[in-house]
């Protein structure tokens, strides 16, 4: 496999895989540490100093492997691993939804008639032009409290961010539909749906997969951003963005608290970008023809 020979891809994939494992195994890991993400430990805080953790490096100890959260004393290791669940889960669901919507709209626009294309393209332009962060904030602010927050976040991020996938799919579809094998399929009497499924979709795999690999980290940033702005998941559910948000007031008093979620977010994003780059290099035909 050429992919595995790419050093960047290997490193990225390893870290990304580790993060996914951490997220999936969050309850197990927290249980192994003997902690949970919501219990307060007021005895571990210096209340007179505003609630900074007692002890060195944000209160790191045998019991609290990454220290405790300033102001609450909640175990940071448990919050980090549960936070990974939210950050990765939301980003993943959002990406899948974005790809699905984008594929559907993009192929419909590429294969449909002039009118369908014109209308759908305008819709895509609209989605791309809307200031999505502002809209996401207002959408999340008006939704009733009872709705499951992480799913809602994923849905909102997806609904506001499928424009790019749709556009790429449409332009690829427009090139693919002029290929001889598509013409042959049409002449043999295949309907548009069958053509889309059997002839076009396989050709879209490479560009869409690469794009999706880049979308995932972007969605993580959006989730972190929304949680940072206070419209993300609700407390006491932890998320890295939320932790970063509360860390802004602590970064001098307790640097560990900002370094942990910040560093992990950076690492995860970097790993996914490396994976996407690796994929692009292998899947992009122009890249593969480059003389080495």
């Amino acid at each position: 496999m050429r992919l595995l020979r790419d050093r960047g891809f290997r490193a990225g994939a390893a870290v990304a895989l580790l993060m996914v494992l951490v997220a999936v195994a969050a309850p197990l890991l927290a249980a192994a540490a003997g902690q949970d993400a919501t219990t307060y430990h007021d005895d571990l805080l210096d209340s007179a100093r505003g609630g900074v953790p007692l002890g060195r490096l944000g209160g790191i100890s045998g019991e609290h492997w990454l220290g405790v959260e300033p102001g609450t004393g909640r175990d940071l290791f448990a919050r980090i691993v549960y936070g990974a669940q939210v950050s990765l889960g939301v980003a993943l669901i959002a990406t899948v939804l974005q790809v699905l919507i984008g594929l559907l709209v993009g192929t419909a626009a590429g294969l449909g008639g002039r009118w369908a294309d014109a209308v759908l393209t305008r819709v895509v332009d609209l989605v791309l032009a809307v200031p999505s962060l502002v809209l996401a904030i207002s959408l999340l602010a008006i939704v009733p409290q009872g709705w499951p927050r992480p799913l809602l976040l994923a849905a909102v991020i997806a609904v506001l961010g499928w424009g790019g996938t749709a556009r790429i799919t449409r332009s690829e579809t427009l090139t693919l539909r002029t290929r001889d094998y598509v013409a042959a399929a049409r002449l043999s009497g295949a309907g548009w749906f069958r053509i889309a499924r059997r002839e076009i979709l396989p050709g879209l795999t490479a560009p869409v997969l690469t794009y999706a690999a880049l979308l995932l980290p972007t969605n993580m940033v959006v989730e972190a951003g929304l949680s940072f702005l206070g419209v993300g998941v609700r407390p006491p559910t932890p998320s890295w963005g939320q932790m970063l948000s509360s860390a802004t007031t602590w970064f001098r008093a307790d640097p560990m608290y900002v370094l942990l979620p910040g560093g992990l977010l950076f690492l995860t994003l970097l790993s996914f970008v490396l994976v996407a780059n690796g994929l692009r290099r292998v899947l992009d035909p122009r890249q593969s023809e480059v003389l080495r």
């Binding site: 602010a141 409290q145 206070g230 006491p236």
Partner: protein, 562 residues
């Protein structure tokens, strides 16, 4: 007392805010008000200076910045600590003479007080200033006068009803008489509000007066850009002879608004250039500075600590299940972990655990009690036992809070309460409401949730403005703006409130307010969580930044930068 906004909020709306004022203040040499004059004082604030019109300001004790511009009939006496919780005569020669069982209050004005243009201040100017505050065009002031003055409830201000308020009489240029609908012993406290500042009728431009209100205090407006900046210069017609309470040390005061609290505190710590001469009236210290305080470092000389009387509490709606059940309210009172709440509010330096609704100020009548002892970290076992007694298991409740932590009623405190109740087997669902509409939702009995985080600050240091809006059954306002969130109405309590209101001796009143608070505490109508402590920094060249006992903050009329 009705729509009385908690003072932290109103403080942010005005220019004044509650700050620190109890003890740890470092004064090196004796401060001499006679030789402190000179220099420029910078005020770095978060809150916008939204209004300057005295009719539109909601202040406690006349506010901090407003008090530089406006003299009122009485004002806070600007003393440190407990002694500071008393009014002192300002424009008037004394605190007022009550008659007719405290239903009539008569004031004599000084004869050496002038506006910034040299015109003498008369009783008619004070009366006109009060009448303006009734105008619907000029909203924002404290609502007490409308309640208290005889037959003034429907008065629409001098623009629509130029005949004025009949229950305010000015028999001569130096005398002003207030006729009240019921006895109010706290009138001298109310007379510190900016609504009691004189306004010359000839200079009144209605809503446009906001741009340049005519000064009666030591400073006047040089330039003013709402929510941005305010520059004050000396008023040549004010003199220390007529006003011994304000020292008016700096020659010039420059207020900058709209700054971030962290930025303000960082600038006060670094003290570069003019920042060495800077203060703030609304940026409480953050964790960053708290970590440096008390270490013997240089910052310990730049801090003022005080206590503005205010309580953070959980408010029950006793008309809604399950909070109509006294056992449930008691169980929650036992389960609360006040240490977590204090930490969520910023730690023990800026908040202290409270088991009483009245904050621990003697002037308010503070009487210690703890009917549902929860210890420092809660008593979940006792809470479970009380719930079991009531035949309740697996209780699930909803806690309503603001969507940000700016006012201490946000997600941080809510999450701390949630965790404490979880220990007692009670599941808490959190319901965040946008802070701008929070009071609209909680203040309307039709939309009021069963349990919410609340804050109450004293409009003046007395038990009345603390207990009346919260527990007087006649103060349940169905139209909105309600603060009697328990919707508690007991005729015996109501008549005790009337009886205490009639007292003109603050000490006697305080004792009875304390007894009333204790009596109400037994009913678990609220869960008191914590009281406010105020810690404010000031620039390294600033002198005499002594917190006063009324507002818990250093007084801009007394600080010096010379």
């Amino acid at each position: 007392m009705r729509r009385a906004l908690p003072v932290v909020l109103s403080g942010a709306l005005l220019l004044a805010a509650c700050d620190g004022g109890g003890g740890g203040q470092s004064s090196t040499t004796a401060f001499d008000p006679a030789s402190c004059q000179g220099g420029t004082l910078s005020v770095l604030n978060q809150g916008g200076i939204t209004h300057l019109d005295p009719a539109r300001l909601y202040t406690s004790g006349g506010g901090n910045i407003p008090s530089l511009l406006f003299r009122t009939l009485t004002t806070r006496n600007r003393q440190a600590g407990e002694a500071g919780a008393k009014p002192a005569p300002d424009l008037a020669t004394d605190l007022g003479t009550p008659s007719d069982g405290a239903k009539t209050w008569t004031y004599k004005l000084r004869d050496d007080v002038f506006f910034e243009d040299g015109t003498p201040i008369t009783a008619a100017d004070v009366k006109y200033g009060i009448e303006r505050s009734f105008a619907p065009e000029l909203p924002g002031g404290a609502p007490y006068l409308r309640d208290w003055l005889q037959d003034a409830a429907s008065y629409q201000g001098p623009y629509k009803q130029p005949e004025g308020i009949k229950s305010i009489e000015t028999p001569d240029a130096r005398t002003i008489v207030f006729k009240l609908g019921k006895p109010e012993g706290d009138f001298p406290f109310l007379a510190t509000a900016t609504q009691f500042a004189p306004v010359p009728k000839a200079k009144d431009k209605g809503a446009g007066y906001d741009a340049h209100p005519v000064s009666s205090g030591p400073y006047m407006v040089e330039s003013y850009a709402p929510k941005k900046s305010l520059i004050l210069v000396r008023n040549p017609h004010w003199s220390t002879k007529s006003d011994t309470l304000r020292y008016a040390c700096p020659d010039r005061i420059e207020v900058t608004a709209g700054l971030d609290a962290a930025v303000i505190n960082q600038r006060l710590v670094s003290g570069a250039g003019q920042d060495a001469n800077a203060v703030t009236t609304d940026a409480v210290v953050g964790p960053e500075q708290l970590a440096q305080l008390g270490t013997g470092g240089p910052l310990d000389k730049q801090v003022a600590r005080g206590e503005f009387p205010a309580t953070y509490y959980l408010a029950f709606n006793t008309r809604k299940a399950p909070f109509d059940n006294e056992k449930v309210r008691q169980a929650l009172s036992y389960a609360i972990n006040r240490t977590s709440v204090v930490n969520a509010l910023g730690g023990s330096t800026v908040a202290g655990a409270s088991t009483t609704f009245l904050p621990p100020q003697k002037a308010l009548g503070y009487t210690p009690y703890d009917f549902f002892p929860a210890g420092t970290t809660g008593d979940p076992a006792k809470a479970k036992a009380v719930l079991a007694e009531a035949g309740l298991t697996n209780l699930t409740i909803e806690l309503t809070h603001q969507n940000n932590d700016a006012e201490g009623e946000g997600p941080k405190v809510a999450a701390a309460v949630q965790d404490a109740f979880k220990q007692a087997g009670i599941t808490v669902k959190l319901n965040a409401i946008d802070s701008t509409t929070y009071r609209d939702v909680t203040g309307k009995p039709a939309t009021q949730p069963g349990l919410s985080l609340q804050y109450w600050g004293a409009d003046w240091p007395s038990g009345g403005p603390f207990l009346i809006p919260i527990f007087d059954g006649r103060q349940i306002i169905t139209a909105g703006g309600n603060f009697n969130l328990a919707q508690y109405d007991d005729p015996a309590v109501n008549s005790e409130i009337d009886a205490i209101n009639a007292l003109t001796d603050p000490a006697a009143a305080a004792q009875r307010w304390g007894a009333l608070d204790s009596k109400l505490g037994k009913l678990a109508l609220v869960v008191p969580l914590a009281h406010e402590k105020d810690v404010y920094l000031f620039g390294k060249n600033v002198k005499n930044a002594v917190p006063d006992g009324w507002r818990g903050t250093y007084d801009l009329a007394r600080v010096s930068v010379k």
